[in-house]
Amino acid sequence: MSHDPWVWIAAFLTLAIFSFLYKDNVFYKIAEHIFVGVSGAWLFATYFQSDIVEDMLMKSFPHFFHRTEAPNYITLGGGVIGLIILLRMVPGFSWLSRWGIAFVIGFQTGLQLFSAINAYILIQVRAALVSLFVPRNIGLTIRNWLQAGGTFTSLSYFYFSKEHKGAFGVLTRIGIWFLMISFGAAYGSTVMTRMSILIGRVYFLLSTWLGVVRA
């Protein structure tokens, strides 16, 4: 059994959270409130250090931090934009916050436009153009047919300018099958993820805390 008090605290909090499965109780509430408080503090401390101290103050006033590089006052601009966004809370100046938000949205859109089209559309379309007959490789030929067929029929299902009847209806129904199989795989993977989390905590209790399982 562990002699580390932090392990005991972690074990108590794990059991307290699990106790909710039986019913809501005071131990669960304690663990929940600790989690919210600690998360908030951790979030604030790490973001403050990363954004305000390292990215703005350290670069604008390096000598205060015993650093030798030249000051880069342009990083103060980020702080100014941040303050403009916070003006939303000041009556009479709240309209100014739109400028800051507009800058952030414009910057992000410009940054994402090229890379998103390239990574998610152009390269993916190129990868979808596969040969439907690969000489002396029946396995790859079947795989390519499945890939091309799955892509085409699934996309057909989302074409709503034509009624899903007749030959086109058959095509879209095949598309639904492909979609259902992918949703099933996704759901199975979700179950697997949740089970892994449970397994992690049980392993922690049996190994790190109680020591009945060898780590």
Partner: protein, 274 residues
């Protein structure tokens, strides 16, 4: 007792007992390595001593059981190949994950900080991490002027001639969501062409397969299973292997519940129709 109204807490208890039993009475499992994991291994196995890789720990305690086995196995593989590792994270929850990985792998292997590896720490790059990833592609020192311990970038021997992505052979992303592997594919791979190896949670794995198929991902370990497979490849069993048996037992319980529930529902419906 009406089985159709079975108290769900009984199922929770059965599942808990099943998982605990799997750890108390473990059985060795034969693990077949899937192609995505083999691809990840092959990519990293081609690296030469002295090559550098970036490792992004973009996950936290909630996904630790799924991603930490792969992270530890891949990190061990890199150190075995004398590859230099630069750590960073786009999520503040990743900091303790890096610390845990270092204490479990780098310290026992006697790897030297700032020489064999360096931890640059956390940097918030917006909801998508785009500003940080773009920054790493152009000027890494501007993004991380100091390491997590406050050492100036230019004082770290490992980073002396490192400017941007072009000085690295691969980016290894341990990702639980956004920002994570998709953002590295979008910014780092599509624009700067750095090969990306990923370890992702099982729940996000299905959406990554198209990137594996297109070559945008050079390999992938999905969930606890992926970690166990990588442990098998480097012949160093860890939590991935032991957790896999528990996972199999848990899945059997879930499958048993699904079958039992359908049988109970079927017979219950027949009885009510009479």
């Amino acid at each position: 007792m009406n089985l159709q109204n079975l108290d769900r807490r009984i199922i929770f208890a059965v599942l808990l007992i099943a998982v605990a039993s799997a750890f108390l009475f473990p059985r060795p499992l034969h693990i077949a390595v899937e192609p995505p994991v083999q691809m990840a291994y092959d990519t990293l196995n081609k690296l030469q001593p002295g090559d550098r890789v970036l490792m992004a720990f973009d996950y936290g305690p909630s996904t630790m059981p799924e991603l930490q086995p792969a992270a530890l196995a891949i990190l061990r593989h890199c150190f075995q190949r004398k590859v230099k590792v630069v750590f960073f994270t786009l999520t503040n929850e990743g900091l303790p994950m890096i610390a845990d990985a270092l204490s479990q792998v780098a310290v026992p292997l006697d790897e030297k900080e700032n020489v064999d590896y360096v931890n640059l720490g956390f940097k918030w790059g917006g909801l998508t991490g785009s500003s940080v990833i773009e920054g790493l592609g152009s000027n890494m020192q501007a993004v991380f002027p100091v390491t997590i311990k406050g050492t100036a970038y230019h004082d770290v021997p490992l980073l002396h001639d490192v400017k941007n992505f072009s000085d690295f052979k691969a980016l290894i992303s341990f990702s639980a969501g956004t920002p994570g592997i998709n953002e590295y594919i979008q910014y780092a791979n599509a624009r700067y062409h750095i090969p990306i190896v990923g370890a992702v949670t099982k729940v996000t794995a299905p959406r990554e397969f198209p990137f594996l198929n297109s070559g945008q991902l050079a390999g992938m370990c999905a969930g606890l299973v992926g970690g166990a497979e990588y442990e098998e490849l480097i012949d160093h069993p860890g939590f991935g292997m032991s957790g896999l048996f528990a996972l199999s037992i848990a899945h059997l319980v879930v499958l048993g519940c699904i079958v039992a529930a359908n049988i109970i529902y079927f017979f219950g419906r027949r009885q009510s129709s009479r």
